[in-house]
Point group: C2
Amino acid sequence: MTEGRAVEELVVGVLGGTGPQGRGLAVRLAAAGQRILLGSRDADRAAEVAAEVATRASAAAGGVEVSVQGGSNADVAGAADLVIVAVPYAGHAELLAELATPLAGKIVVDCVVPMGFDELGAYVLDVPEGSATQQAAALLPDSHVVGAFHHLSARLLEDLSHPTIDGDVMVVGDDRASMDTVQALAGRLPGMRGIYSGRLRNARQVEALTINLVSVNRRYKVHAGIRVTDV
Amino acid sequence: MTEGRAVEELVVGVLGGTGPQGRGLAVRLAAAGQRILLGSRDADRAAEVAAEVATRASAAAGGVEVSVQGGSNADVAGAADLVIVAVPYAGHAELLAELATPLAGKIVVDCVVPMGFDELGAYVLDVPEGSATQQAAALLPDSHVVGAFHHLSARLLEDLSHPTIDGDVMVVGDDRASMDTVQALAGRLPGMRGIYSGRLRNARQVEALTINLVSVNRRYKVHAGIRVTDV
């Protein structure tokens, strides 16, 4: 579905696109010229948010037309070339199990962080498969599952008054061609790079490091990200 | 033992100081003016490496005298004010169990990464306590255990021809005063900062991210580290 096509030509679907992380990725990618399909459980809500995202992305891009459309998660999974999964972990397994058929043959980028909160702050939720990304791979045996976009602050993604974001996107997976595509997609976010960061079996700590960034944010009153040095 | 004392005054012990990570930390800290006790199973070997580290650190510091002495791990644990644990994970639990008494009341900084290698590369070793740092805390109930210094390339630490290193030190722990001291110690490494990065229960992913950096290093032929952005 994506083979041989330049990343700029791909229609990117965002499941959970009405949540902060999904919406933030959608608006930044749309402003960079990517065609976006924004998915939600509620197709009407997705259409509303898509219209609002399109308006903001177009303004940030200097008034050029952008393409952002909304739909149900299932419709988006079927119509997009590459799909980003940005739903809460609580609904992750159920949603992906339902969408295995429309997602077959596609690159699926998981950015879900299994995270709980208690009186001591944030902590890692144990995932039977090891990580959300590995869970996605187990549920989507016919898709190319890649983990990425975990460490990006939704607040910074949404704040288009800052044209660039200081940070990298760590990309994990077992399929090099799919990872190359996701790294190129990450590189379309101004200021960011997609960095090859190892195999699927090493996804857990990439996801979970987001929890440490939550602690950094609380302590320093910032929106922390990660830059990989010497690359 | 460290209360009320400036970090510059502390004698820093490095257990496993003849290994690449320990030796790299020792030479950089010594060059920055920190008094160092370098420990090894073999006290004679520790003394040899300490003399070599002192010579290099002094040269890097423009010829000023530096203080680096070698000894057995047990002697170093007893004599130092603050102790960095830089031994291979295979010997981690056994060594710390033996040294609980001399380490009591002290800040113990664990930088050990539980890492295995197979034909697919590096992977995370499961630690019954959750992480090496939590294992240290369980074995040293009377010490102040902090996790730090995982993401620093031994090669870059050792290469004093580059006066600074581009990267941060993520510091995890449950005792804020000890973490402040370790953050200040990290800040003595030129170019680096010690960043508060959450509680002990979130140590695992900080340790394990080192494994992803091994993949980055192999892919890009670099010595990768981590910079926390927006701080």
